[in-house]
């Protein structure tokens, strides 16, 4: 259920301007509100977009988080590719089945 929690945080962050304000003001405090593992907290705080992708975060959520973190489009796509190279195949969620590794081409 921890992937669920990471995704819920991103869902709320993407939708809610008051959560976006908390992200800007004190991201560490915002993270405290969610029951996350150390790796999840690290991936969110870094931010390590590639690792979040490998963890199984849905792209419809991650895409907007990457943009919020200042990633340009090509940078964001590259970050996911680098994540696969560094951390291996997608571990969970919808993309885990893609060609056994989270990307088909």
């Amino acid at each position: 259920m921890s992937l669920y929690t990471v995704q819920k945080l991103l869902y709320q962050l993407n939708r809610d301007r008051s959560v976006q304000q908390r992200y800007k003001d004190d991201f560490a405090a915002l993270l405290e509100d969610y029951d996350l593992t150390g790796e999840e907290r690290h991936a969110l705080a870094a931010p390590d977009i590639g690792l979040l992708y490998v963890m199984g975060v849905n792209g419809q959520l991650l895409m907007h988080y990457a943009a919020l973190c200042g990633f340009e489009w090509d940078q964001y796509i590259s970050a996911m590719r680098e994540g696969l190279a560094e951390h291996g195949s997608v571990r969970a969620g919808l993309y885990a089945a893609t060609d056994d590794r989270g990307a088909v081409s």
């Binding site: 869902y11 849905n58 943009a67 893609t98 990307a103």
Partner: protein, 272 residues
Amino acid sequence: MTLVYAGVCSHAPGITGRAQRADPALREPFYASFRQMGEEIRAQQPDALIVVAAEHFANFFMDNMPAYCMGMAEDYEGPIEDEQWLGIERRRIPGNAELANRLIERMLHDVDLAYAQEWKFDHGVMVPLHFLTPAYDVPVIPININCQGPPITPLHRAYEFGRTLRKACDAVDERIAVVGTGGLSHWPATPDSGKINETWDRTFLDRWLANDREALTSYSDEATYFDAGQGGFEIRTFIAVAGAAEGSTGELYYYAPIPIFAVGCTIARMHL
């Protein structure tokens, strides 16, 4: 017969958000077809435009994920995304809560849709509206089909949902246009963004234009996933519109893969 228009179109955020990066030779005729569809819809003077879109975790999450949901608000806000990122300015969009309420009441006899009295439109609704009703002067009623978070609704229910929507539209006095928006094959927001299976898309579109219910609903999710990506699950919105136009066949206005838009860009309509 108060359903006055039924069509389908793409909604990928790159269509507006990465507009300047697309080949103008592809982009301009696509935009022109999109705008033509808008003119046709507005020529019908609809009282409401129903947009059948696919959820992207903008309004719904796995704490309460409806298979189908319909908006029942006085008005809506959109886009939920960053305005610069999407290339569309945030605004209020008029709705019609009272009409939506009547439609939902009728539809609940055959399908078990959720309703929502607030809704922040994401690119799935805003990109189509940007081209179809650029003055945002036609009341919109949004519908969402969960195409994103399994377990997802099977294809035959999407067709049935469309049939039920049609029955409800035909039972009210208002003139209603319906547009389904979604991708055919695509791998949005993944490292494979930009990959498009044109052969698969064209086969699907042939089935859609023929309104061949059996062929349209014969895809397994496993096959769709491998041939058309997780974005291919969004064919449910096209299938729902085929259901709403049961008995009619269609016409393709535009189809071309535009990789930087991350989807095979499509504009098509049914002749009701």
